[in-house]
């Protein structure tokens, strides 16, 4: 019997090439998009699930007075104290990203920005599988190094590197004691190089910062199952009260389950990608199902006679439902298979190139992702069942005696009503996505076009972090270069700094205005004398830093931004004194800059303080920013490239423009826009081809009506309008009804942005007109074709 069903199904497909083609195309496009989005969401939701005892893994967060989640950083000595005094902690480790030494084996040299310094117990907290080495002892020695599989290959090729030595920064010899197996993309921490905290603690820059005030330590713990977490948290906070410096004693340290780590650290944009993806999945699936039900229902009327005959000669209801189910299941599974290929070869590379950095590259492993595979198989069954069974049941309820005589030719009455609701729903969902895409695009363009408060056009940024082989010579060469630049006619100004807009980091500190006993948290940055001029950041009160002043005086001066001035409640900040809450001498405010976006693109401008970084020099600088006369950038940069050749480094001379760096800040939002536009295109395309299929079926049923109308004097235009009208009305209804829904969704989304557009009517009008145009073309071509047919022929064919 099944063979018979399959045979009939195949013949049905051959006969209804158009509708089968439409169904498969819609399903392939829809499924592939849904698959990729679902995989992305799944990856997000199952992040870090590879650790068998994840439920016993925790990490620490410091919560500020105001509450909330706070940050992941605590003071460095805290963890040691916890391990010493809390027996519930089975294992614990710091995860310090402090600096990244260059690692060298013969000719091969790498530097990995995921290098982390960890404690001996790290592999007990994180049971990463090892390709080589012993997990118990791998991190026991001070000079041990554990590499990722990828880094081991870069340094040693395919050989087993256990016991081999690596030179770190050409000074220290490290012994390879382990190689980690490949770590899945959706893992919170993916160290490329593991070094020991014992090694880190010996480096002078680090040691100076270790105390009970500075908070930079990230801590992971493995806790005995069944532990009373409240008691443990109380014990930890007792350590805080006992040891933390006075300024930080108010801090509450909480123990967060590691299972929350990935989501805790995803930002609002990342979370809205997940929500948006789930919404899009739901929309696309609904459109697909509605589309198939409509096409099936349309076709079933042509098949009413077949069903009736089968019933007359003894076919059971169940058999007929199974037959329709088989047909649909075949279509759905073939589409699913094609969709897998489509997404694997086209969509996943696209997603990885756009979202990879944020969500981790999408990787597929049957071992881990089988629930997703099962889910899709189940989904295929459910979809096939819904789209087959609903129309089939309707079909079976028709009177056999009428069906067999061809008395049921069109789905009029209640069926037409249901069908119209379905078509409207389909367009409603598509139009919502189109509206969302339009509003999203407007908001992004608005943010990009908006003033950032600094010159984002012409400033060239030369990378100074090149790991110079001879730092001393490089430094003096660099001074020669700076002198040349000072006298260069085309260089308007330049800055040698560790900070540039887009790269301030999240270094904050509290400052106190003693006179008013007011405290303000500020982001901290540094600037040289040329910084504000180079980036055209107006110093609206006071003055910028002065290169000619004595360093000893100027380093006691600071410049704040308007946001900080406002936060302190001052009208003129120049001349005022502030002191860091952590202690130390006071600073004098000598200038106030206008607000400019320095971090968190395109977010709100937070209070910001700049210290003076001293006379311009290579030491401590990361960027050389140049404001060059229009059209003269290339010769200046070529000159610099030639000069830099005289001071070789491990990295080659490289530069870009601040505009490129700003664009990169928007990469995530651009990706969301691209994804939304793609989803919008897919849904409207599916809805349109669905309507094309349906109208073709319905017009076939109306051949006689069209013929009669023409014979009675109906014009082609008149008949085409009559036939198209109801479809276009449905699209119009969808366009109108979706306006409040889209406004609601996007209104909520826009709340995330400080600078946002207001949603206005023309955005909807644009989307509605576009959808109507698509519908008009789809319906119009078919109805005109039908209306132009020779009536004699059409009546004869009836």
């Amino acid at each position: 019997m099944i063979r018979n069903y399959l045979k009939t199904a195949w013949r049905q497909f051959k006969k209804n090439k158009l509708t089968t083609g439409i169904s498969v195309t819609a399903l392939v496009l829809g499924f592939s998009t849904v698959m990729v989005l679902a995989a992305m969401v799944y990856q997000f939701k199952t992040a870090d699930s590879q650790f068998a005892h994840r439920d016993n893994m925790y990490y620490l967060r410091s919560v500020p007075k105001e509450g909330g989640l706070g940050g992941m950083q605590t003071t460095y000595p805290l963890l040691g104290e916890i391990v010493k005094t809390c027996p519930q902690v089975v294992a614990a480790s710091h995860y310090q990203q402090w600096y990244q030494p260059w690692l060298k084996n013969g000719q091969h040299e790498i530097q990995d920005n995921t290098t982390a310094f960890v404690d001996t117990a790290f592999l007990k907290v994180f049971p990463f599988p090892l390709k080589y080495g012993n997990r118990e002892s791998a991190l026991a020695g001070k000079f041990s190094i554990v590499l990722s599989e990828e880094n081991a290959e870069k340094l040693f090729g395919n050989e087993n590197p256990l016991g081999k030595t690596i030179a770190a920064d050409d000074t220290t010899l490290l012994t390879v004691t382990g190689v980690l197996q490949h770590i899945p993309g959706n893992t919170s921490i993916k160290p490329g190089v593991l070094l020991t905290t014992a090694f880190l603690e010996d480096s002078p820059g680090f040691k100076d910062n270790v105390n009970w005030y500075n908070g930079f330590a990230v801590n992971y713990l493995r806790i005995r199952p069944g532990t009373d977490m409240m008691a443990l948290e109380t014990a930890i906070n007792k350590i805080v009260r006992l040891n933390y410096s006075k300024e930080r004693q108010w801090e509450q340290v909480i123990i967060r389950p590691f299972s929350r780590h990935f989501a805790d650290n995803a930002d609002e944009v990342g979370k809205s990608v997940v929500t948006g993806s789930l919404g899009t999945i739901l929309f696309i699936l609904t459109i697909l199902v509605v589309n198939l039900i409509n096409l099936n229902a349309g076709n079933l009327y042509r098949r009413a006679k077949e069903v009736a005959v089968k019933k007359i000669v003894g076919g059971s209801k169940r058999g007929i439902i199974v037959q329709f189910f088989t047909e649909n299941l075949l279509v759905v599974f073939v589409s699913l298979a094609l969709a897998v290929l489509f997404s694997y070869f086209l969509l996943v590379p696209f997603i990885n190139s756009t979202f990879g950095a944020r969500f981790g590259d999408m990787e597929f492993s049957l071992n881990r992702d089988y629930p997703l595979v099962l889910l899709f198989l189940l989904l295929a069954f459910v979809i096939a069942a819904i789209v087959a069974v609903l129309p089939a049941i309707r079909m079976l309820s028709l009177k056999i005696s009428d069906a067999v005589k061809g008395k049921i030719v069109s789905g009029g009455g209640r069926t037409a009503y249901v069908r119209n609701i379905f078509i409207t729903l389909q367009f409603l969902l598509s139009v919502i996505i189109i509206y969302v895409a339009i509003i999203l695009a407007r908001q992004l363009n608005y943010m990009k076009a908006g003033s950032l408060g600094f010159n984002k056009g012409d400033v060239a940024v030369v990378d100074l972090d090149l790991a110079f082989k001879d730092p001393k010579t490089a430094s003096s060469r660099f001074n020669v270069i700076l002198n040349k630049l000072r006298n260069h006619a085309d260089v308007k100004s330049f800055s040698v700094n560790r900070f540039i807009p887009t790269a301030y980091g999240y270094n904050t500190n509290a400052f106190v205005d003693r006179s008013a006993q007011k405290e303000v948290w500020m982001f901290q940055g540094g600037a040289d004398a040329g910084y504000f001029q180079t980036y055209d950041i107006p110093v609206s009160e006071g003055r910028p830093f002065d290169n000619s002043a004595a360093d000893s005086i100027e380093t006691r001066n600071v410049i704040i931004n308007k946001a900080a001035e406002k936060a302190f409640g001052w009208t003129n900040a120049v001349g005022r004194q502030i002191i860091p809450k952590s202690g130390g001498p006071s600073y004098t405010i000598i200038g106030v800059t206008n607000d400019f976006v320095f971090q968190n693109f395109p977010g709100k401008v937070e209070p910001l303080i700049h210290y003076y970084t001293g006379k311009q020099a290579l030491e401590g600088a990361a960027f050389l920013s140049l404001n060059i006369a229009k059209g003269k950038a290339q010769p200046v940069l070529s000159m610099l490239e030639k000069e830099f050749k005289e001071m070789p480094g491990k990295r080659a001379f490289n530069y870009d423009f601040i505009s490129d760096r700003v664009s990169k800040q928007y990469q995530m939002l651009d990706s969301i826009l691209k994804m939304t536009q793609y989803a919008g295109f897919i849904t409207i395309f599916i809805a349109a081809i669905g309507m094309l299929g349906l109208i073709t079926i319905l017009l076939r049923l109306k051949v006689k009506e069209i013929g009669v109308r023409k014979i009675l004097g109906g014009s082609v235009a008149g008949i085409a309008t009559l036939l198209s009208k109801s479809f276009l009305v449905m699209v119009m209804i969808a366009s109108v009804v979706s306006v409040p829904l889209a406004s609601l969704i996007m209104g909520a989304w826009l709340q995330h942005f400080t600078y946002r557009i207001t949603i206005s009517w023309w955005m909807f009008l644009g989307g509605a007109l576009m959808t109507l145009l698509v519908a008009l073309i789809t319906v119009g071509t078919q109805t005109i074709k039908a209306a132009m047919a020779n009536p004699v022929k059409s009546l004869r064919s009836e």
């Binding site: 005959v309 003894g314 059971s316 009177k399 005696s401 005589k405």
Partner: protein
């Protein structure tokens, strides 16, 4: 074999009530060949639908082989139909997606007959209606006469006790029509009971008895043999 008594069927729409069968009573004996005639709208097709268990009467009794079937539910009717009744339609009603062989095989498949036996029985009946050479063709590739021969083959392959034919020659030219009528006669002679609705006096003369209907009930009965 068939005994109907005081059968009534009324079609109701919002505005109109149409009486299709009005206090109709008659009998058909096993082995009989009965033709039902009458003008359009007299209730012939309604009668045939009820006899074929495709529709149920509003009132009255319908005994089929001594069993009251008027109040049967859909499942019981389907079962009864499958085991006892074959249909031949004016518009052939073959399934376009199935070949000649598969169309004829369908009732046997639904009856759960084994594959080897199905093949033997289909071949035998196709041979009988002389369409064996076209067994792998699709209905659209056949002439009207050939299609109706396939339809007859499908109606008889399950060896039904009763064949209901609804204007079996309506879509055929006279020579093809005569061929089909001859086939029905042969079947009848082999023992199958036949009830045929027709407009054609010529076709009706193949039967034993003509029931003439008007406004939902019988007006005359002519016995031909």
């Amino acid at each position: 074999m068939i005994k109907i008594t005081n059968l009534e069927k009324i079609y109701r729409t919002e505005e109109v009530e149409t009486v299709a069968l009005n206090d109709l009573s008659f009998q058909v004996k096993e082995g009989e060949f009965v033709a039902v005639m009458g003008p359009s709208g007299c209730g012939k097709s309604t009668l045939l639908n009820i006899l074929g268990l495709l529709d149920d009467p509003d009132a009255g009794s319908f005994l089929f082989n001594g069993v009251e079937v008027a109040k049967f539910n859909e499942r019981k009717r389907a079962d009864m139909r499958k085991k006892n009744i074959g249909f031949v339609f004016q518009s052939f009603n073959l399934i376009d997606e199935l070949t000649v062989f598969e169309n004829v095989e369908l009732p046997l498949m639904y009856a759960g007959v084994k594959k080897s036996e199905r093949k033997a029985r289909v071949d035998e009946v196709l041979e009988k209606v002389q369409i064996m050479h076209r067994r792998n063709h699709f209905p659209q590739q056949l002439s009207g006469g050939q299609q109706q021969r396939v339809a007859v083959a499908r109606a008889v392959v399950n060896k039904p006790k009763l064949i209901l034919a609804d204007e079996p020659t309506g879509n055929l030219d006279s020579s093809n029509g005569n061929e089909v009528m001859q086939m029905l006669t042969d079947l009848n002679e082999a023992g199958t009971t036949i009830v045929m609705v027709t407009h054609s006096e010529h076709d009706a003369r193949y039967s034993h008895r003509i029931i003439r209907m008007l406004d939902g009930h019988t007006v005359t009965e002519n016995i031909l043999v």
